[in-house]
Each structure stands twice: as structure tokens, then as C-alpha cells.
Symmetry: C2
Subunit: 275 residues, 2 copies
């Protein structure tokens, strides 16, 4: 397996969220020789999608994904607001030429304990967004989130579950495989194989710290935790995945407090040594 | 489905751990009309297993389980110390007439990222304990733990994975189904069915709070969270599960700070209203 060089890396802009606005993140990623970025929508909207697209082109950066569409359950029904927002997300992904629109699908509906209904609502919503995305030529990537987020962020929690949805919805939809969310899964290898090249749309890196002190914002730098990242990278590359290795680290008490140029330097070192 | 009455409840002694030693927990459970308790080994050893058995008999309480054997990966190999400790756990379970010995199997070995090896070590260890447990007449219940504990507590994280192990190891081993660990799993219903009456050895209740502020000690009282407990109880009872409904709540900032008699009163109320 080849060592990950900087041009094979993408900076998910959540990794430097408190330090850098999107234009600074694009500059930073280019300055450090990264191959791309993956912006978050709020940051993209603050800069303007057209302006971002121009800056990305001039910097010669790819876009490994746009984070994020989804949240179909947020209003307890597939309201026009929810569907329209996802259409806008598709449009934004198209504008910046994102490899995929990453979907954090939403958890339980407000004041509900009905996980089956939430999952049905999510699948219906994904179907609607997919129909539009196909027309526009944007790929939809379901990101299965760790089961500890089932209640409040995403009720799609395994690769198998995401791929079952993909099977039912057809072409143009696949998965974003984030090592943080899937590393524990006894079926992860067989599901990566099942996904195959066309449906492996993104590969996200960080690490699982022991102990993890915060369920949301205590992700680790690659090499600082317990995930066997090379093992998972080998599995996705064996299927022919050739996208960028996207680094997404939510880290309130550590990496978000550091000089972002230092953060990118460490990412480059760890991508080579620990991924 | 019948309402849970107090005599259908078991008090897992972790629920009142800071307030009550085991002898007080046994008295408390009996005083409130519970049908049983499920002690932890450290508390049992502090009281003495023979003495506890006598007190339990005199109080007319059942024992829905002994918490816990397992931790096969703790020393990075199946040492005599690990195997012997599990034999002692089996003996203790036999002494108090526990319906099963609950297994928290252990996570990654120290300084290891090799989840597959950890899982192999766990299965080999379970096989050794099972052999002894069969001879003594004690049932072994694997407790699949929530995936957020895969690194540091248990690398068996789904009902399917636990039942795969049971399939390979044969008679006398089953699962302890704790709603906290399994509620998110898209396959939970089919796996409860697959387990069937003989392998559903324990059923544990608490609730998943939103937000959850601590990964270990912020479990909720039934009704305070988002788990559809009646739905899961119906599923296990449909298979013929007739054991006690064991309440196990780790709650550093709430229930562990209250008068334990109040805690048991609330459990009785919520068992009737929210389970």
C-alpha cells in the first residue's frame, strides 16, 4: 500500500473550524500541498459558493465532499423546508464540483422514540434528494454515523444499513466511510467489499481516543487512538477507491486550540506514519 | 403485554452502588417487593457469597444474574489469572443461584489496535469458561456492549456478533440483552428472534438520555430517555423470555445521589408506566 502523500489528502474544514474561515482553509490546504478540501455548508455560504468555486479552481484543489445534507427528521416530517434545503445543498455541491454531497441523515424526530419511523422518513427524504441530485449530476453519500449518535444526529448507523438503503434507491447514491464511525463494526470489511468502488464515495480519517471525554468533540489525530487505519484504508483501496483521504477532526480541547498550520503539518506527518 | 409489577423486577446493585452495600441492597429490594437482585462481584465478595446466598434465600429473592465475568483481553493473553478469575465467577454464580453469569468480555488488549485478535481471544476465553460452567451448571450470558465501548470494555458489540459466538460454542451460552446497548441496532428485532427463549438469559433496563453527558455514568431512568422499551420488551417476551426485568442505571450525577428508597420507588413507578 502506498504511503499517503500530501496531494492525496483533503482537509475537511471542520478540522480547523475555530481558526480558519473557508477562504483561509483553502489557502492553508494549498500552501501545505493538500490535494483538496471538504467544506461545511455554513462556511461555504459565508464565503459564497461561486466565490469558493473560483478560489478552489485557482488553488488547484479538488473537493472530496460537501458537508452536509440530510437531517430529514428535524421537523418530524419531510417538510418543504427540509426538502428544499437539501436541494440547495445539491446545488452547492454542484457549484463547487464536490465529489459527493455527504449526508448526515438525522436522528429521532423531536419528542419521538420511534426509530423505525425515523428511518423510513430518512429513506423517503434521501429518495427525493437523490432524484434531484441525479438530474444535476451530484452524487449522494450516506455517512453512517456511530451508533452513539442514533438518537440525535443520524439513525443510519452501520455500513450495512446504509447499503441496504442504497440497494433500494439505485444509482447515484453510496456511502461516506469514516473510520471513526465504522471501525468497531464486526461486519465492516464485508460491507466495504459489498459497497464496491462506485459506492465508496468518501473516506474520512481521524482516530478514536481512549478515553474519549466528549461524545462529539474529542476525536483524535490519526495515530493517537486505537483505530487500525491502515487496515481500513487497505480495504477501501482494494475495492478501487481512489478518492482523497479526508481528515476530519472535531477536537475542542486540543487541535482546535492549536496553530492551524501546525495542525496541517501534523496531519501530513501522521498520514505518512499512521494511515 | 402485562404491566411490570414489582415482583417482576430485579435490582442490579450498580443502580444503588454508592448508597448501599449488597446486604442493604438485598434488604431494600425485598422491602420494596422486588422479585430479585443482580449483584456485582466486588460487592458480593465484600459480603461473602455464602452469606449473600443465605440472605437472598431468607429474603425470598431470585438472582437474575451475576455481574460480571469476562475481560479476557485485560492482560493481552489468556493468562491463568484471567481464566481462573472467570472460574471463580462461575463458582460465585453457582453459590448464589444466579440465572446466568453476565460477561463483559473486554476490549482491545493493552497497546493494541487489533480488534480481530481481541475478538478471537474473547471467543477462546468464553469457550474455556463455558466448559467449566457447563460442568457446574451455570449459564453464561454474553452482554453485547454498545459500540462506544468497543475499545475499552467489550469488543462484542451487537446481538448478531454475540449470537455468532454462541452458535459456534454450543449449549449453555446466550446473551444478556440490555436496552441501552442494543436499542439503536437496525437488526435488533431479528436478532432477538434468532436468540430465542433459551439464549435470552437476561433483560436489562435503563434509558438513553439526550444529551448523554458521560459515556459511562449518565444512563437514564426508564421514561427519561428515547428508548422504546415496551417495543423491546415485547420482542423478548414474544420469544418466551420469562426472566426478571433487571434495572441497571449508572448515574453519577442523578440517581446515585438520591435516597435509594426513593430510587426504588421511582423504578417501580416507571416500570409500570414506561416499560
Amino acid at each position: 500500500m502506498e504511503t499517503i502523500t500530501p496531494e492525496r489528502l483533503s482537509l475537511n474544514t471542520a478540522t480547523t473550524r475555530p481558526q480558519w474561515t473557508l477562504d483561509k482553509a483553502i489557502d492553508g490546504a494549498a500552501r501545505h500541498g493538500f490535494g483538496g478540501v471538504s467544506p461545511w455548508r455554513d462556511q461555504l455560504q459565508a464565503l459564497g459558493a461561486e466565490k469558493a468555486a473560483r478560489q478552489l479552481r485557482e488553488a488547484g484543489l479538488g473537493v472530496s465532499g460537501l458537508c452536509r445534507g440530510g437531517w430529514y427528521t428535524a421537523e418530524g416530517a419531510l417538510t418543504d423546508a427540509v426538502i428544499d434545503d437539501n436541494r440547495r445543498a445539491v446545488d452547492e455541491a454542484a457549484t463547487i464540483g464536490a465529489a459527493c454531497l455527504v449526508m448526515v441523515v438525522g436522528g429521532l424526530a423531536p419528542r419521538s422514540r420511534d426509530l423505525a419511523s425515523a428511518r423510513a422518513m430518512i429513506e423517503e427524504g434521501l429518495g427525493k434528494t437523490l432524484e434531484y441530485a441525479r438530474a444535476v449530476g451530484v452524487k449522494i453519500a450516506i455517512e453512517p454515523l456511530h451508533p452513539m449518535y442514533a438518537a440525535d444526529r443520524a439513525a443510519v448507523n452501520t455500513m450495512a444499513q446504509a447499503l441496504d438503503i442504497c440497494d433500494r434507491l439505485g444509482d447515484g447514491i453510496g456511502v461516506a466511510a469514516d473510520v471513526y464511525h465504522i471501525w468497531w463494526d464486526p461486519a465492516v470489511k464485508e460491507q466495504i467489499k459489498r459497497a464496491g468502488r462506485d459506492r465508496l464515495m468518501a473516506f474520512h480519517l481521524c482516530d478514536w481516543l481512549v478515553p474519549t471525554t466528549d461524545m462529539l468533540n474529542d476525536r483524535g489525530m490519526m495515530g493517537d487512538g486505537v483505530i487500525d487505519i491502515p487496515d481500513l484504508r487497505q480495504a477501501v483501496e482494494a475495492e478501487g477507491f481512489a478518492g482523497l483521504n479526508e481528515v476530519e477532526i472535531f477536537s475542542a480541547d486540543n487541535w482546535w486550540k492549536r496553530d492551524p498550520d501546525e495542525v496541517l503539518e501534523v496531519i501530513i506527518t501522521r498520514a505518512a506514519s499512521s494511515c
